[in-house]
Symmetry: C2
Subunit: 260 residues, 2 copies
């Protein structure tokens, strides 16, 4: 097929082995990329699912080791969830934003408004009783992975740690960025003019979230478990242009949020 100018390629990274605590993700991902003939190149964006980052960082809790407090017991009754699970969610949260039947929406310690602070039963390990937590600081995780990729291959790539979030107003989860390194998470269009010289209705674009969504299309949540994707062809990759602020640039300040 012809390669039209300005095209992006979204490439699933297959064959990454099951990740365990303490694993160094960079060589596992680089080897998988090289085996499938799509080595990491300068300017590429590597999107990595939060799950394997959390596993490598040992962000895991055994449910059996948790004793729920009073607040967890109350919220568990309200949301019809396991009170030990709720306790872990509270430990990972700075604020409870909304509750409902089987719904517990919080602000995570990193500032993301999401269900259950990203605490997850799935794929944690062989035991149903294991929970995975989000990376403690996904921007730091992304920066460390990016530095390690540079160290091992001399390549300047951007790294996004992705998660899958539900949304207000719209059904269905989408991939979002919770950690970003090596590129600006937001692209600022303010001051730019359109075809007719008007200024833009939309002034900033959450490029890192759009990349995470694009990657999620090939990563899926399914049994085959593709935990990373490579995106090639994006002009902004590697262009941090003084905006090296990570995914925290995507957090809407409370005073600018009409829906808190």
């Amino acid at each position: 097929m012809a390669e039209a100018s300005g095209s992006l390629r979204i490439i699933p990274v297959r064959g990454i082995p099951l990740v365990r605590e303490g694993d160094d993700l960079a060589p596992l991902i680089l080897a998988a990329l090289e085996r499938q003939g799509t080595p990491l190149s300068n300017g590429a964006v590597l999107v990595v699912a939060q799950k394997i980052v959390s596993k490598a960082e040992g962000r895991r809790v055994a449910l059996t080791a948790v004793t729920p407090g009073a607040r967890a017991l109350t919220l568990a009754a309200e949301t019809h969830k396991d009170s030990r699970f709720v306790q872990v969610v509270l430990d990972e949260s700075s604020e409870v934003v909304r509750t409902g039947h089987d719904v517990l929406i919080v602000e995570s310690r990193q500032g993301f408004i999401c269900a259950n602070a990203g605490v997850d039963h799935t794929n944690a390990g062989a035991s149903e009783e294991d929970l995975t937590l989000l990376p403690r600081d996904a921007d730091a995780s992304a920066a460390a992975l990016r530095a390690r990729l540079r160290e091992l291959r001399g390549v300047e790539a951007a790294v996004i740690i992705s998660d899958t979030h539900g949304r207000a107003f719209r059904l269905g989860a989408v991939g979002v960025a919770i950690g970003v390194a090596g590129m600006a998470a937001l692209r600022d269009l303010r001051g730019q003019k359109d075809l007719f010289g008007h200024t833009f209705r939309v002034t900033t674009v959450a490029v890192a979230d759009e990349l995470a969504s694009a990657a999620t299309l090939v990563m899926g949540e399914a049994a085959e478990g593709v935990p990373a994707a490579l995106i090639e062809g994006l002009a902004v990759a590697g262009d941090a242009s003084g905006q090296e602020s990570g995914a925290r640039a995507l957090l809407r300040p409370r005073e600018l949020d009409l829906f808190r």
Copy 2:
């Protein structure tokens, strides 16, 4: 470059001429695709920016022809917007959801929670006084375009009409689907098991929104104005599997929305 299995290609469609009311979009897009050597193929997803669909459908209002009513005058004072603009937004809305300084968030007649009901100054034409409105029924627009593509080239493609929406909790706009035809907008994972046999935390994925976000990465909002993108390699394209329900499948019912 090697073509890894399961990769997606996101291809900007360049060279579409400025669209006018009454234009038949399908041949304009097909010709542009063919000129750049990336003809439309079976199973591809064509993402088209709302702007050119609205223009072709003549969804345009001259501000000078609008007389604001009492409610528009009140809301205009509250939001610091032109009262005629606010009147047009109200005409396109079923409900005002939130207001703030320079912010007017409504439910559009199609059911999308978005700023200004998608009413837009930009790119409407030579005069600053022109507004473009969203397509009256973007699912119908998508279905009509898909049928026309089939008629002209015998190709079964999916069509997404995209817009760019701001979000609660997160800064920056992202591409979303407001019209979908030829594929399911939501992918349902309920009942599927992950690597360890657990059921999924995330049960539905808004694939059409993720595709719109991916397309927005190459379409941009910038002066060069790329109003469409072609996505190749997605397994779900063309597989409507009885879920031919359009983008309205993405609307969260009010009773399931904790943030209305």
